[in-house]
């Protein structure tokens, strides 16, 4: 800690000197955020007080500082959690500097020592990243080398351990990646380009299990190709993982497989995107035992529509890394202005369809007792998958939506959306999947139709009013909802918002309640402050297919962000 303080003092001095001296002493940049929440007990939405923290007020924030001078860069991040906000991992407690690094580049070699984030390809094999909203931070702490062998061929090497809260995990992560960009290699730009790459990552963790012989070294490798040709773009990545019995796959010994492809085509106003995914036992952590967002080595692209509006977002897709397959198709077309559908200002239509299914798994069991009454898949290969494409009977999700964006007149813009989706609540929120499904299991499917109107009215220069009306109809789960939002902005400094969501057909009449929320925001330069008061409904917050359940709460919150 003293060393860090010394570095910071030196950096601060450097900047002060830089203000009075024309010599280049480099640049120091930073950003800051703090989020305070004061909770009120609300016996209607949280009758047991489960989400009412004993601290009453919780706060979480950070300050990032990055110093750069030429090819040299160094940075630190101070974080504080007193204690972490409700719904986020409680492992984040206290304060400290969990992120610090030094990086420099010289003669094609890029060296990072300390913490770093990195991704190989689409992330199937390796992705170290941060997503604060999820409480996910699997930053590496170690070494990274990036070397350009020749223009067009880049090699990366990583070594270290991953962050878990204010510590690092037990597992050692080693990896390498190479990428060949043929156009750059041939120094021929334009036209068709082919980028190919390969990556591998291995984890070492000591094994001490009394019953199972566990592999201490587990490896994963993948190959990828990206063909870019004018209107056409095709990306595919396939990956393999060696035996990795872990707490998430119930300690089975089957290797893992993953395939992710995405293709897009554009012609004039028309755009088409097609995607396919196949993930079989492909969750990879740097420790065998971990929960939710802890110590993830890889990332599986969800290939599902991201629900951004409040009500559809209550049913966001949660990736099933132990096995799923699906596809996504999106067609967008822009009707030109002056046409029947384009109107006076043009209209953009997006149609999106995606689905996800469990794999067609046939489970393998063994008996743990001589009486043969106690069976488990642990310690076996776990299962076999029926022939390709291996689509099982259990549907995780199906999502169809249409979005129409149009400028109605000089002052009015509108986005109108329709959603029709089927959501396997049991699997995606309660984790009832695979061998947890028994003969008496009731799979809870939720069938939803939702309509959204999002209208922006530019009242006069700098003044605008946004209206958002949402209606989400379902007979399952918590029933139907309606929501209204009015947001008045005076650019660039102020905004005021009032929102109310009403769960009007909850099967429990006591929970047919309103969730009002008022917000006020003020921006001055790069400083922003936002105050919010009201009730938040229980929901699920997802980023990139990784989700966290957020309990219902009531109270004040203050968010301050700043950067320089």
């Amino acid at each position: 800690m003293k060393k860090i303080a010394l570095v910071m003092a030196l950096l601060t001095n450097t900047i002060l000197i830089a203000q009075t001296d024309e010599r280049d002493y480099g640049q120091l940049h930073g950003n800051f955020q703090t989020n305070l929440q004061y909770y009120l007990q609300d016996t209607i939405i949280d009758p047991t007080g489960e989400a009412f923290p004993p601290e009453r007020m919780l706060a979480a924030g950070f300050l990032n500082l990055t110093y750069t001078k030429g090819d040299f860069m160094a940075g630190v991040r101070y974080e504080n959690y007193q204690n972490n906000l409700v719904g986020l991992p409680e492992g984040f407690q206290g304060e400290g500097i969990p992120y610090r690094f030094i990086r420099y580049k010289k003669y094609g070699l890029d060296v990072t020592a300390g913490n770093f984030y990195e991704q190989f390809g689409s992330g199937l094999v390796f992705r170290a990243y941060e997503e604060r909203g999820l409480g996910l931070d699997n930053a590496m702490d170690g070494l990274r080398l990036i070397y350009e062998l020749t223009p067009g061929i880049t090699v990366k090497g990583i070594l270290g351990r991953q962050r878990i809260y204010f510590e690092t995990g037990d597992g050692i992560v080693r990896g390498a990646d190479f990428e060949v960009n043929l156009n750059e290699l041939k120094q021929e730009y334009g036209g068709t380009n082919l980028i190919v790459g390969g990556s591998f990552v291995s984890r070492y963790q000591q094994a001490q299990d009394p019953i199972l012989n566990l592999p201490e070294n587990v490896a994963s490798g993948g190959l990828r190709v990206n063909l870019i040709s004018g209107r056409f773009n095709f990306y595919a990545e396939g990956a393999y993982k060696s035996q990795d019995p872990n707490s998430s796959n119930n300690f089975i010994y089957k290797p893992g497989y993953a395939l992710y492809t995405n293709a897009s085509y554009t012609l004039g106003n028309l755009g088409i995107i097609l995607g396919y995914k196949y993930y079989d036992n492909f969750l990879f952590r740097s420790e065998r035992v971990g929960s939710l967002t802890e110590l993830l080595i890889n990332y599986l692209p969800p290939l599902a529509e991201l629900h951004t509006y409040t009500l559809p977002a209550l049913y966001s897709y949660n990736i099933q890394a132990n096995g799923e397959t699906g596809m996504q198709a999106e067609v967008s077309y822009k009707f030109d202005r002056g046409t029947l559908l384009g109107g006076k200002y043009g209209t953009l239509i997006n149609i999106n369809y995606s689905n996800s299914y469990a794999l067609d798994k046939n489970f393998t069991y063994r008996y743990r007792d001589s009486a043969q009454t106690d069976s488990t898949i642990s310690g076996t290969d776990g299962y076999t998958v029926g022939g390709f494409p291996g689509v099982g009977d259990i549907r995780y999700s199906q999502d169809f939506n249409v979005e129409v964006k149009s400028k109605l007149n000089r002052k009015l813009k509108g986005t109108f959306s329709y959603y029709n989706f089927i959501y396997n609540r049991s699997a995606l929120l309660d984790g009832v999947v695979d061998d947890r499904i028994g003969p008496n299991t009731k799979i809870e499917m939720v069938y939803v139709n939702a309509f959204i109107a999002d209208i922006l009215w530019k009242i006069k220069p700098r003044h605008s009013l946004r209206f958002e009306g949402q209606l989400m109809l379902t007979e399952q789960d918590r029933g139907s909802w309606a929501s209204l939002l009015l947001e008045y902005s005076i650019a660039p400094k102020w905004f005021f918002a009032v929102q109310n969501s009403y769960n009007y057909s909850n099967p429990d009449p006591d929970l047919r309640v309103h969730y009002p929320l008022v917000s006020l925001g003020y921006t001055r330069g790069t400083n922003k402050i936002q105050l919010t008061y009201g009730r938040q409904q229980e929901g699920v917050f997802c980023v990139g297919g990784i989700c966290r359940v957020v309990p219902a709460s009531n109270g004040f919150s203050m968010l301050i962000t700043s950067n320089f």
Partner: protein, 277 residues
């Protein structure tokens, strides 16, 4: 293209080198009898591990944690002493769950140690001071491996002194004998009554309700309060005896008595023993 082929071959080579292949996942070693440490003989010589499993009848993830406890007992034998503590919001009765097994002691542990939910557990109550006493069930084995290899510093000998079937009064006595270096702190003794083979409803992992679920090692009462009493070990030996009246619904033949001593400053369990009645 030659470079690409070369790099591909290197990647494949690294992949092959960097993973272990296990052909036989199951170990054959028998860990249950080693060291003469059968606590049912009431004579504890080696370090035993008290696994306090916090659970609830409405918690659908709890049967998996109970399975893990069972797996660990199968692996380590009687050196693992499991105590299932039903507490928290998911340990409440409703029409589907007519019994919930809450106790004032269990609620005290749940609140005093700031538990956020179930299933979680304490392994010998280690790492209280590091604010890491709460262990997810997936971590129990790793924690047990650390604890079980420690040399014992005390022995606990437990004996059923007598039982009056009409008054349902149970008398137990026992001895704590110091055989190593005790921590420089107050040592407390807690004696607990638990019960196994209770058939009652439990929410299962698939959210269905099993009305005939078998609950084992359920905390039913404390002989000498939730946190016990100080025990004077200045002469390296101390005797104790306690009585309790069994509640009418407790089946005496399925009951267990668990005694453990712990460091009052750190809550770390120093030794534990169990007898089945």
């Amino acid at each position: 293209m030659k470079k690409f082929t070369f790099l591909s071959l290197i990647s494949l080579f690294l992949l092959v080198l960097s993973c272990d292949t296990i052909d036989d996942p199951l170990k054959n070693n028998d860990l249950t009898g080693g060291g003469g440490n059968d606590t049912s003989s009431t004579d504890t010589v080696l370090q035993n591990v008290l696994l306090e499993e916090f659970t609830g009848v409405k918690c659908n993830n709890c049967p998996e944690a109970a399975e893990e406890a069972k797996r660990l007992v199968a692996a380590y034998g009687d050196r693992i002493i499991v105590l299932a503590i039903h507490a928290g919001n998911l340990a409440q009765t409703d029409p589907d769950h007519p019994r919930a097994f809450r106790t004032p002691e269990g609620t005290a542990y749940f609140n005093d140690f700031n538990l956020f939910g179930v299933p979680v557990g304490f392994v010998n109550r280690k790492e209280y001071e590091q604010n890491a006493i709460i262990k997810l069930f997936q971590d129990w084995n790793t924690e047990i491996v650390e604890e079980i290899s420690k040399p014992a510093v005390a022995k606990i000998n437990l004996v059923e002194q007598g039982y009056n079937s009409s008054s349902r009064e149970l008398d137990i006595n026992g001895t704590v004998e110091v055989i190593g270096d005790l921590p420089d702190a107050d040592i407390y003794l807690t004696v607990i009554l638990a019960e196994s083979k209770i058939t009652s409803a439990q929410t299962m992992p698939d959210k269905s309700i099993n009305p005939n679920y078998e609950h084992n090692h359920v905390l039913r009462a404390a002989f000498n309060s939730a946190y016990g009493e100080a025990i004077d070990l200045s002469s390296d030996t101390a005797n104790f005896n306690y009585s309790i009246t069994l509640d009418a619904e407790i089946v005496k033949e399925n009951a267990e008595v668990i005694a453990y001593i712990y460091n009052r400053d750190t809550y770390q369990v120093i030794q534990a023993a169990k007898i089945e009645l």
